[in-house]
Point group: D2
Chain length 345, copies 4
């Protein structure tokens, strides 16, 4: 398999590169970057060793610009580019390669909703119909057949995986209250003051509460496919760690259920999914999935109040790992190929 990474120097691009270097089914990687064109990857990402550049030898380990990439043929093109810019740059690859876009540009089919979230119409509304939302555990069959995959956001994955079975089964009787806490890498590698070490260390911050965060619209759009009445309240928080998202979800159950009954519902959906860890008891911690492609889910029932807890690594299952999982599914490879199931820490 020959692959390209558009946007090799951001955090998701760097993680993608690591995953593809270790992937048994990938033989070639073309690193694409406008800002780093002509530069050796090892010059700006010293974590990559010059001794393992076999898969990168076509460009001798240096980045090429996208015009150069347009001339080539790929099996898969991964786009780790900014929202509102990605779709236009991906479009020329369509028809020639499977495109897996990590930006939001193809995620929301309702253009009005997209505009509320991103302040502009989807850049390529004409292509929205072709895109499949790449939440692997929910659109497995659709992913197999599409050539344009809209890879979900990190908060979105961490919220939808615990919410969807509940909503689908009609078990939620009230608003879906989601509190999510994220590590700093979720904001990307931007040289902004609020992302400095000294600003984020020893600091906790809630931001974009209620129905205002961009991912809130994306989650809402996905929930609506299953139940148009699903009513989401989503509040994200930043905490001082590099990676990890933890959600705490509270929702009134439509009927009284034991914790065992709730877990059974989820086992029905996720029992055979290699990257979903259901905890019959106890609450998962983000470190337990750090560096893995897993999303672990915990449960707590008190009367008719249900608590759901999910954890994932925002750069792996929340971004680049899920992108590789999408590739695996699309090409009929082992779903876990090249993807860590256990945590690093």
């Amino acid at each position: 398999m020959k692959t390209a990474i558009l946007g090799t120097s951001g955090y998701t691009g760097q993680v993608l590169l690591r995953l593809l270097l270790a992937h048994p089914g990938v033989t070639q990687i073309i690193p694409v970057s406008s800002s780093k064109k002509g530069e050796a990857i090892t010059a700006f990402d010293a974590g990559i060793s010059e001794k393992e550049l076999e898969k990168l030898k076509a460009t001798q380990g240096t980045c090429v610009d996208i015009q150069e990439a347009y001339k080539q043929k790929f099996d898969v093109v991964f786009a780790a580019l900014p929202h509102l810019k990605s779709a236009e740059l991906c479009a020329p690859f369509l028809g020639k390669a499977v495109v897996i876009d990590l930006s939001a540009d193809f995620r929301i089919k309702d253009s009005g909703l997209f505009e509320k979230a991103y302040g502009a119409r989807p850049p390529r509304e004409d292509l929205l119909d072709q895109a499949v939302y790449g939440l692997c555990e929910w659109y497995h069959e659709e992913i197999k057949k599409t050539d344009l995959i809209a890879n979900p956001g990190c908060y979105t994955t961490a919220s939808l995986l615990p919410l969807l079975p509940l909503v689908k089964e009609g078990l939620a009787a009230g608003p879906l209250m989601v509190n999510a806490i994220s590590g700093i890498s979720g904001a990307g590698k931007k040289s902004k003051e609020y992302l400095l070490y000294c600003e984020r260390s020893e600091n906790l911050w809630a931001y974009s509460p209620g129905k205002t965060h961009r991912h809130s619209f994306e989650i809402q759009a996905e929930l609506a496919k299953v139940d148009p009445k699903a009513d989401l309240f989503f509040t994200p928080h930043l905490a001082p760690l590099m990676r990890g998202i933890a959600t705490t979800i509270t929702v009134q159950l439509a009927e009284e259920l034991s914790q065992e009954q709730v877990v059974a519902v989820y086992e029905n959906y996720y029992g055979s999914c290699p990257f979903i860890g259901l905890r019959k008891t106890g609450i998962p911690q983000t470190k337990e999935v750090w560096g893995s492609n897993r999303c672990d889910i915990g449960f707590y029932v008190q009367g008719t109040m249900l608590y759901l807890f999910s954890v994932l690594d925002n750069l792996i299952k929340g971004a680049s790992g899920q992108a590789v999982q999408n590739m695996n599914i699309r090409f009929g490879m082992e779903e876990t190929a090249g993807l860590p199931v256990h945590s690093v820490l």
Copy 2:
């Protein structure tokens, strides 16, 4: 003013010592510790300089045991001792000194509720009647007249300060959903595996959800004084920082209110309180109150859904700072005496 600190070597004891060393109204401090009896404070707390031991000269900067303290006369005795042990050790000082107990032993008047939280009856039920709950902004007048102050817990202070005006005014129409995130020092200086640097770094964890955490009972008890129907759901989280608590509270409003109207309600309660910072706009971050005795509160209204956000330093306003504030109030000193209003960072 002559003071004693029972339990000088824990985090709250160490912070108390620092605050009292800098307090203009305190002339003498007797450090009491059973485990450190006869040891110089500077031997186990090298942050204290041998050059500032003036207030500690009575014991030449060494810790004495509590039997020695019982023989002396104090204006104030601060107890920074474990729950279930503190009350018994404090009792002999009653009648001779104002006792400010930082443990939970005198906080909950309902012995059955206390037992649910702590697994045992309050150790000195006979003294519960004398105790005033030391939430400074709410029991200012009662604090002035009591000789036994039950200093509130950290999660409790962070939750009650934003909740009480709302509940008192009858503005809450549904359950009070509190998500709180805390730094690690809230768990105290215990040599437990789960508190090791390598276990907590890069880790987020929700624990004791719903109505199970000890502080949940304490918050519920205080809310019930104002409105017996108040229905609390409290979920704490641990995040990798030393200090700081942030709460995110969601509640349905009984009537539609603008954000300005909500802020006005809080200004009515807290406008003249030196340590409450009301944010007309924006959401406070824990770093903004780190090292101060402040609790800052933010607001967000969306339809009839109200979001409240509070931040405080769990060791200052959530423990030792509030204890000193209680002393200031009780003895008619300036309420801010010896207490930082601005953050350290």
Copy 3:
């Protein structure tokens, strides 16, 4: 005392503001900032409470530009401005106020040496003669008489305080090998990629080794005043913490000395200094001086090899605290006025 802070929004400016707000001898503070002119301090530094703006009421808590400041009279002007820009902006205050400059512009009298360190001649060579190097423990008498104080750098203070007694006494027989490890705030509040949380967390880095770091020239210049043959090798490191510098210094002794004898030499110099903590045994940790104006020094002798260890808070004793200490000395106030002797943590 009426004071001004030039550059109120950087880390050293923010810490200065906190120290002056708490200083008993300071009645007025004029915050000066070109980038924040007309903005309320509380708008960009939410750690400052609107309830403690008494000392800032002349400007109603908002920043003014330097032209406005030039029109006023001050007792002290603190400059927390960038190197190469500070001297020119400070000059108009000379003759009307005591100027304490936290930049490097007046620190190195040898213009050629300054140029090697900063790539340009000292911006106001004409004023160099007036400046006194504000290392409080060494230039106490000179500081009392000057109106222009060049406040030392953070690495410099951490290196010179342990080195100078040794060099002055002629006890060093070989090169002075200084390894220094610093927290991130030493680099200032700059929105650079390498200072992002995700770049510095879980990262250790040595940089500018040998005789190449700017502070190396400053240390060398000060050592040369005492012994022109002193031969410094200085290597700084960045570690993932906000504040703190630790140095590990190795040097061959000219003669065999016991650890007690070495400590005695230092007690002779620093025994009466309120902010120097000499450790007869054990090695100090940065947390033990975090938030204080102290520099603690430890010792270890093995044969004729002497190890010196110093720790300080780079923003306090390494910058703003020492600036306030300089003010205290210059104006005959208590040297410790408004300055913390014990650590915050």
Copy 4:
């Protein structure tokens, strides 16, 4: 290949388990633990997924005690046990399996030197002759032929890899001054107060300076094999990160050499080593090797003063990764099999 891990619940045991789970040549892993006997690994290490227990199916993912392990046959036994206890527990496997011991028990052949470092004679002096020191890049040929490998310590690996070429070539003219900074996991998973999050965060600490640290004796012993006159001064430091060691080494060169000439010396030794990254320019950072089995080395020459800089992940190249590398070499597998060459971050 059938393997056992003695001591599965410590940090090095946990990392070993992860590496072996991902290793293409390992088919079976028997987890051994006295404290966790009969417990499921997933019960105490939730980072391991129940869905990947194929290699652990012999014990159904639960730990067995060592008596059970003695009854079985293994290709390789990894011992991640405490010093002074490991040798005795490993001995029964000798002759039946290749033993790779991560403790210090077989590292130092000179029993007197071992006693100075560990306060007791080597527990199995009788077996010392059989042991090969497992510094892969230096004892490649010996490792191939031995059945008892003494896996080096983390500080030791980080110091010896940069020091040995220099010493071997006779290029060092003076003492070898090593300053090393380590992350907290180097101290192991011990519930000690000084390892708590709140004690180590925002803290830098030099400890065991000069010739007193245990690893100092181990480094000295290895250097002496190459040059008996090599004179080491080693000072370790703790910094607030989980993983990573950085060394800064200074040494006078015997003759003037350019940086290029020095690098050429190292290329001669390490040019073909897959896990050594030589930097012609610039200084490596620990994050660049975090999670990999690499040791990267940087250089700086100023006159005749040489600076060497090395970085590695103390749990991978400094412990479990090198242990796997030793297995790969011993069994003639690809040296990089199952070992990450690029960083995780």
